[in-house]
Assembly symmetry: C2
Homo-oligomer: 248 residues x 2
């Protein structure tokens, strides 16, 4: 009856993040089993659309590898990205029929899906899944609100710096390459995607990236490969409080 606490131990129990994250030792083994039974994988190529806003969406899913974006589009074509889905992030809303946003793969993407019906049934029987989902949703809500500050009040330069800092931080975290403040990573977004995320035009993004380069805050190798020689210097450019707002 006792499954290992995969949440803390973090050992390999399959490729699907939700298994790591939503299930823990306190859950019964047969619930794990059920999750296993209803899950399946889907792959997408970079640029492919996973689902269009308004389409029927009969599954929920989490990202296994790659990056996906959530975007909203106005009738006249103005676009705003409202979410960036990184590995282990969750998409889809239990209880909702149709997708609320366009979901697009910006890199090659693998998602771990669960058909909605059985997932919902399981959720109502397995309290810890709802609790884990709540936690993740609250994290996303915080991220969205941080982004509201960015969109509403930051300058173009601060916006770019903030985005770079987020991606850099995440990559540093994954690669543990945060050696004495220097971080190297590949931008997973085009200038246009960055613009859609930041509420700018692609020209302004290009100009500000050039400006940051000119000022020595970042260095470019090619268009996409970025070197941040001094992460603290980059952080100064974001306009955020220096003490990174570490809340628990």
């Amino acid at each position: 009856m006792n499954t290992p606490d995969v949440l803390n131990v973090g050992h390999d129990c399959g490729a699907c993040p939700i298994r790591h994250r939503a299930v823990c030792a306190r859950c019964e083994a047969d619930e794990l089993q059920k999750l296993e039974q209803i899950k399946y994988y889907r792959s997408y190529q970079a640029g492919q659309t996973v689902i269009w806003s308004g389409d029927k969406m009969d599954f929920v899913a989490s990202v296994v590898t790659g990056i996906a974006t959530l975007t909203q589009t106005m009738e006249d074509g103005r676009r705003q990205m409202v979410g960036l889905l990184l590995p282990s992030d969750f998409v889809g809303r239990p209880g909702r029929q149709a997708a609320a946003y366009d979901v697009t793969a910006t890199t090659d993407l693998v998602m771990c899906c669960f058909r909605k019906k059985p997932f919902e049934e399981m959720m109502s029987k397995t309290p810890h899944i709802a609790q884990r989902l709540l936690e993740m949703t609250l994290d996303e809500l915080d991220a969205a609100r941080e982004w509201m500050l960015l969109l509403g009040r930051k300058t173009a330069r601060e916006k770019i710096a903030s985005l770079l800092a987020i991606i850099a931080r995440r990559d540093a975290h994954l690669n543990l390459k945060a050696a004495q403040g220097s971080i190297v990573f590949d931008l997973p977004l085009t200038r246009e995607e960055m613009a859609d995320y930041l509420g700018l035009t692609l020209e302004t993004v290009s100009r500000q990236v050039s400006a940051l380069k000119r000022d020595g805050v970042i260095a470019l190798e090619g268009k996409r490969h970025i070197v941040v020689p001094d992460f603290d210097r980059l952080l100064e450019e974001t306009g955020d409080d220096s003490d990174g707002g570490m809340l628990v």
Copy 2:
């Protein structure tokens, strides 16, 4: 053992919204009892700060009457409102020690509070509370994302129209005064608060409100009392899709 399903029946079982919303017939009567025991009320005057960002927050709460705002402030004073709390909305995050935002009463305000510890304990024992909270959080996330589109891509006029539409819609809902499209309500926000919500300056807000008045989209009586003669006309000004995006 059977309590009435207050969620659906909606009869009066006390002033506290979370009682209506988080507890339902499927919950045990003694859980209701416990919720009852750990809750208490707090009142604030218009303009008072409920809690400052970073302060220790040892409770979670829901709004009973009045309006509160969540705002973020940058070091140099730039401010962005990231949430508007209306009656029945929830503040506070189970598991977090410190407040992430300034919470301010913009009108006289009554909140129903729960000390965090016992609330968390109860949540872990009463699955439906976590599920209800998840639903509410997902709603907030959707609202935040809609706001991201507004902040990133809408013009000042569209921003104002959108905000008025939200408040008008809500008031129409409460008062059932949506008689043939004409809606009347009081603005609960100052020009400056509107500006902080919309990512504008108060002067621009004032100018655009005047413009909407000049163009007959709205009428003003005094500074705060607003008449929307034709709600559909107002909606046209928001830039949103005409079919209101009704997702379930």
